[in-house]
């Protein structure tokens, strides 16, 4: 899993790409959490448009970052989720979490990095 980060005054954006499992989630979590603390960002955008696989470890990652941002008085945003990933996220009821910029509807678009 490769990640790219961009910290701006409006928040921290993290682009994920590759396979998100328990193996890759560990270092991902450490890097993201360190960057959140370092940048004192109040908005964390996790961009999943490059993620080709995700299992329940991804759910744990999102829930954990959601709680981290909440405890800092900030907000987590989840963007670029494919239909496939949404299927896994829905098992956890993540579509009801206030982390979506736009409602998570099943779209057919899969590729393409969403940028601000």
């Amino acid at each position: 899993m490769v990640i790219r980060m961009d910290a701006t005054p409006s928040g921290l954006t993290v682009w994920l790409s590759g396979e998100l499992d328990h193996h890759s989630a560990r270092s991902l979590r450490e890097q993201v959490d360190a960057a959140v603390v370092r940048s004192s960002a109040t908005v964390l955008r996790l961009d999943f448009s490059g993620v080709t696989f995700m299992d329940s470890s991804g759910i744990g990652l999102i829930m954990g970052r959601y709680r981290l941002l909440q405890s800092r008085g900030g907000k987590l945003l989840v963007v670029g989720v494919s239909d496939r990933l949404l299927r896994v996220m829905k098992l956890a009821g993540l579509e009801r979490l206030p982390v979506w910029e736009t409602a998570p509807v099943d779209t057919k678009k899969k590729q393409g990095v969403t940028r601000k």
Partner: protein, 150 residues
Amino acid sequence: MKKPMNEMKVTFPSRSANEGFARAAVAAFLSQLDPAVDELADLRTAVSEAVTNCIVHAYRDEIGMITIHMKLYADGRTVIKIRDRGCGIDNVDKAMEPLFTTGGDDRSGLGFSVMESFTDRLRVSSHIGKGTVVTMEKYIAVRHRQARVV
């Protein structure tokens, strides 16, 4: 019960780098059935959950061996057994409940729910101190039957 038309067995240590290997091995073996994209993705996800559980829970503080035994039947039925010789599960029914976890903050307790919804059948048998066997079945739609070697 009919004999499988093909089968494979793979054994590897419970290192997290092997989660990706397990998914790839199962996908490569399944490719002879020419599965649909969703069927393949479903099985990859279910296998990832079962193997991750062996790594995270069964062999929590040790490295042990994990075996995947996969059988393909002529009617498209695919049976995957994932076995560990780790700590075992004390109450399987409880462990399989959605959101139940002994794993702490990073785990959501949804692994068994994922396996259940992404396969057609899930069975778990476990003995404390002896280990766990997770058996999953999924029907892969037969789309090119004439291309099959039986």
